[in-house]
Symmetry: C2
Subunit: 248 residues, 2 copies
């Protein structure tokens, strides 16, 4: 689709986005008024209002009631997988998300349940499809904003009767409990993709229409190569920067 | 936004997406005709057509001229950073993207240039902002579909007069050449985020309006901790699954 074929509000959204990217409007700046933008781009105020709705949905600008529309400060959560999942952390009773810099998401809505494993969970865990797994689902909030949904799955036989089956897994969380059972995670693989959310995910993350998520699926392995957890995380893509370090 | 507030075509897009997710329509299946879908969801054919446009933009379905709309086979490129960047690969003259499973993106439109470094490039490279950097920009195609844009930046003083300044960097690519200069990459950090593309990026990747990209920024460090490359990659999010492995 060429620029010329775009609806007017999309074209204006692109113009304002480019001006932000070029530094004409800096983080925290108030944008010119709707009428000033309409005059600048020679469009109606209605087109500008729709363009700003696009940029709000993208998380690029934010409306403050009564004071205008501002370029959002990009305060993404730095999520460093190697650092946050090191044994030095959960092995000493710390919470994994305490490694996330500056902002520490808090956990709410913990639901523990047993159910038959779907194929994408059963296969890495080495179970036959439909075997019982224990799932722990929860949401992560920063201040009052939901930023992540996560569901961890464990073979039911492995964790039934342990504190992993309780709402509060105790110091160091599920990985510390697995270690106590002789199943300490030693290696992890995370699969990352971007996609549009399902309606349930969009609801849980309070996402506006047209926004998207990062889906991370983590497999945790013991030193012996046994997969003991599959964890699927759905992240508000505007809220996170992921970082991964590795050697040549 | 609740389901009730959504425009009709968004609601129908959600319904069809859910049916695909639930397996009612499997990968490769032809969807029912527009009129059949309109009847099923009690909406006009116009609403169904717009809903299918949404799903096409998401990469979930694909129209085949004259034969209908099909659920796309998800043949994402598996991009395994630790495996593809191992010295065992580039140190023996192989191309990094040969590690990508099944599909091997080919490189086109290589442009080499010298220019002043923007701050986000200068800072990790330990240069003052505006210092000269050599940039190598290129696009990656799978068959004829663009899937990635990438620009690598090197301190100009480090690579001027080497094969890194030529279009063809030779066997093993830029990392092999850096190693020959005594600057072999030993450690990498990749920063991953999802965002909407700039108009230039959308053009280069031939993305439809409303789709999004994964942005990966890689810093390559020598064993001595010197950053010798900053590489920013813009990926069509529907074309890739990234994977990262690390230890506890």
């Amino acid at each position: 689709m060429t620029e010329r074929q775009l609806p007017g509000y999309r074209r204006i959204a692109n113009e304002v986005r480019a001006a932000i990217a070029a530094g004409e409007f800096a983080e925290g700046d108030r944008l010119p008024s709707v009428s000033a933008l309409a005059e600048r781009f020679a469009v109606t105020t209605g087109v500008v209002v729709r363009a700003l709705e696009v940029l709000k949905a993208e998380g690029l600008v934010i409306a403050r009631h009564g004071s205008g529309v501002f370029v959002r400060r990009f305060a993404a959560i730095r999520r460093s997988s190697p650092a946050r999942l090191s044994r030095a952390r959960w092995g000493t009773g710390q919470m994994i998300q305490d490694a996330d810099t500056e902002v520490r998401p808090r956990v709410v809505d913990v639901v523990v349940a047993e159910s038959p494993a779907p194929a994408w969970v059963a296969e890495p865990l080495g179970l036959t499809s439909g075997s019982d797994v224990l799932s722990r689902s929860r949401r992560f909030l920063v201040e009052d904003r939901p930023v992540q949904l996560a569901v961890s799955y464990y073979p039911a036989d492995l964790v039934r009767g342990t504190r992993i089956a309780l709402t509060d897994t105790g110091p160091g969380g599920a990985y510390a409990r697995l270690a106590e059972q002789g199943h300490a995670p030693a290696h992890f693989t995370e699969y990352v993709r971007g996609r549009f959310p399902s309606p349930v995910e969009a609801g849980g993350l309070e996402l506006q229409a047209g926004t998207f998520v990062l889906e991370i699926t983590r497999h945790a392995f013991t030193a012996a190569g046994l997969c003991v957890e599959v964890n699927r995380m759905i992240l508000d893509a505007t809220a996170y920067i992921l970082d991964y370090t590795f050697d040549a």
